[in-house]
């Protein structure tokens, strides 16, 4: 049985459009589940609905198989790490971690014990008597985490906890957070707008757009087999290359201009499609043969790889990702080859053509 279930969860604020619509998910105990999407897509709202900070418009939130819609926040036995950490500015680190335990009438020795353990785990032992404003951003982040740990709740909600840290620290905290979560066996629901965070941390993730869930799956499944063009372009940097195309007999005509001959791939039945191709599936080729000559319009050298942007048709720019360092000049014409098997097809409304390789979660309601 899933630990937390969302069934047809919908939230609207009186306006015509719902902030969150028809969200279904089943989150297993010990799972690291990421909600990811651009800002304003409703991911934080979902978190607040789970926490009970906002009432649902319709649908159910089930905790341990019981409908928890009307439970007050503290009865849901969860902790939350806020984006701005929500530390009490006038209390020391230790008091910040203990104030909730005091409210729950937990014996003092137990409070101190938990607090010390968490401080040890997070490397906060030396700053226990400091106030939040005397700490660095990373330390504050740890205190917020510490507060969630001492609460010993089975479920922890995290609302963009790393977005106030600088890039280097963020990368470090990503792995640290995951390590801690595994060590403590916590179930985490993690909200982020950063697809890299989602890809690197999630056991499974839900991609949201405009309050509607787009796809649920493990990072690699989502990456390899996006359900629609939104997911395809949102997940992965640089994003998947997309282009409108006419389907001809044995080739595609991109934007009425650039034909691509396909030798080993059957084409969808539709007349017009959107084709998608990841940058790593575009390779440098020898002149002649099946290669295609394109004009390079932008190059980024990242050291271990090179991102080459070229104009495929008028105002249609695609990017290729090549390993190693390539000496290419702007405006140079280079031959390319596509990996035909990696081409994905979407219909004109952006939905994937053909059965997606992973099935949507089946969510059952128990009342």
């Amino acid at each position: 049985m899933a630990f937390l279930e969302l069934v047809e969860v919908t939230k609207s604020y009186g306006g015509k459009k719902s902030a969150v619509e028809n969200v279904n998910a089943a989150i297993e105990s010990g799972e690291f589940f990421v909600l990811v999407g651009p800002s304003g897509c409703g991911k934080s709202t979902i978190l607040r609905l789970i926490a009970g900070l906002e009432p649902l418009t319709s649908g159910y939130v089930l905790i341990d198989g019981q409908v928890a819609n009307d439970w007050p926040p503290h009865a849901r036995r969860l902790s939350m790490v806020f984006q701005n950490y929500a530390l009490y500015p006038h209390l020391t680190v230790e008091q910040n971690m203990r104030i909730a335990l005091q409210a729950q009438k937990i014996p003092k020795e137990e409070q101190v014990k938990r607090c010390m353990e968490a401080a040890e785990l997070l490397g906060l032992t030396d700053v226990l008597h400091r106030k939040p404003r005397e700490l660095s951003g990373g330390q504050r982040q740890r205190v917020a985490l510490g507060r969630a740990i001492v609460a010993q709740t089975p479920l922890c909600l995290m609302d963009e906890p790393l977005s106030n840290l600088d890039a280097k620290l963020r990368a470090k905290m990503r792995s640290e957070l995951r390590r801690l979560q595994r060590q403590l066996g916590m179930t985490v629901i993690y909200v982020t707008h950063d697809q890299t965070e989602a890809m690197t941390m999630a056991d499974r993730m839900m991609i949201l757009h405009d309050g509607r869930p787009q796809q649920i799956g493990s990072p690699l499944d989502v990456y390899n087999s996006p359900d629609n063009t939104f997911v395809a372009s949102f997940i992965g940097t640089p994003p998947m290359n997309l282009a409108e195309a006419h389907v001809l007999d044995h080739s595609l005509l991109l934007q009425n201009e650039r034909p691509i001959r396909l030798m080993r791939r059957s084409l969808p039945k539709a007349e017009r499609v959107i084709v998608g191709l990841r940058p790593e599936h575009i390779e440098p080729a020898e002149l002649g043969g099946e290669s295609m000559a394109v004009k390079v319009s932008h190059i980024e050298w990242l050291g271990n790889e090179t991102l080459v942007t070229f104009e495929l048709a008028k105002n249609l720019y695609w990017t290729a990702r090549w390993n190693g360092q390539w000496r290419i000049r702007l405006g140079e014409v280079v031959p390319l080859a596509f990996d035909e098997q990696a081409l994905l097809f979407f219909d004109e409304r952006g939905k994937r053509i053909g059965t997606p390789s992973i099935k949507r979660e089946e969510v059952r309601i128990r009342q």
Binding site: M80, N84, A100
Partner: protein, 270 residues
């Protein structure tokens, strides 16, 4: 040019302060003169004397009045802090239907001058049998729209996530109020306290209406009585009493000036 202008400003400021401070300074000087010197219209005492102070305490139960004033002002201040902070907490953190509308109605009462409500208030106090009692002097002043407004503006600056965090971790409303909201709002609370204390200390009309007994009368009424007791007022004694009545006000002002200004500004800018 700039120096000349600054000098002009300072000269003007000095003149103004002389005009404003003259009555206070003269009262202090008069309280230290003997009767003959006052009647001869001197500005500076020839023989410094404290007789007037002795007389003030002998002619009227000044000590009793001072205590009454202090007690009443203290209780009004305390009550106002409690009522205003609880009301402001509800207006900021609790969700109830029509919350903001109620707040604006509450604020709108600031438009009604207090004097306009004197008669209904008096009738209420009389019906409750609270005349000539401390309770009648204190309770009517506990609810105060300005105090609620001031503290609401302060509480609104507390990040809402703190309240949500408290809700999630099982910290109840009252505990959150005591452990988080009040400590974070010290400046505004001190401002309101100083303001309320001065307000209550200088109250005249209301104590005059609801008391006629020396045991509960406040010092401001006492001063007036001292002045009218004798046909030919002994001004030295009256001034001595006035100086004594003024002292707590001044002390409080000097002590709390910085906090007071900070707090009032905060409310104004929001």
């Amino acid at each position: 040019m700039r120096t000349a202008r600054a000098t002009a400003h300072y000269v003007l400021l000095c003149l103004c302060s002389v005009v404003i401070l003259f009555p206070v300074a003269y009262a202090l000087l008069m309280s230290l003169m003997d009767g003959a010197a006052i009647l001869s219209g001197r500005l500076w005492p020839e023989n410094w004397t404290l007789v007037n102070y002795e007389a003030a305490f002998q002619q009227a139960p000044l000590g009793r009045y001072l205590w009454n004033s202090f007690f009443v002002a203290f209780m009004i201040t305390l009550g106002r802090l409690i009522v205003s902070s609880l009301a402001a907490f509800a207006f900021v953190f609790l969700r109830f239907p029509g919350r903001d509308r109620w707040f604006y109605i509450c604020i709108a009462t600031m438009l009604v001058p207090w004097e306009a409500t004197v008669i209904p208030n008096f009738l209420t106090i009389q019906a409750l049998g609270w005349t000539n009692r401390y309770v009648g002097l204190i309770v009517p002043f506990w609810a105060m729209a300005f105090g609620i407004f001031l503290l609401r503006q302060q509480f609104k600056q507390i990040p809402h996530e703190l309240y949500e965090e408290a809700q999630l971790s099982g910290i109840g409303n009252f505990r959150f109020f005591c452990r988080v909201v009040l400590p974070l709002s010290k400046t505004s609370l001190v401002t309101l306290a100083v303001y309320s204390f001065l307000d209550a200390w200088n109250m005249y009309l209301w104590p005059l209406l609801v008391t006629n007994d020396d045991r509960v009368r406040t010092v401001q009424i006492g001063l007036k009585q001292l002045q009218t007791q004798e046909i030919a007022s002994s001004w030295g004694v009256v001034m001595a009493a006035a100086v004594i009545a003024m002292l707590p006000t001044l002390l409080l002002l000097f002590a709390g000036q910085k906090q007071l200004r900070k707090g009032l500004m905060q409310g104004a800018i929001q």
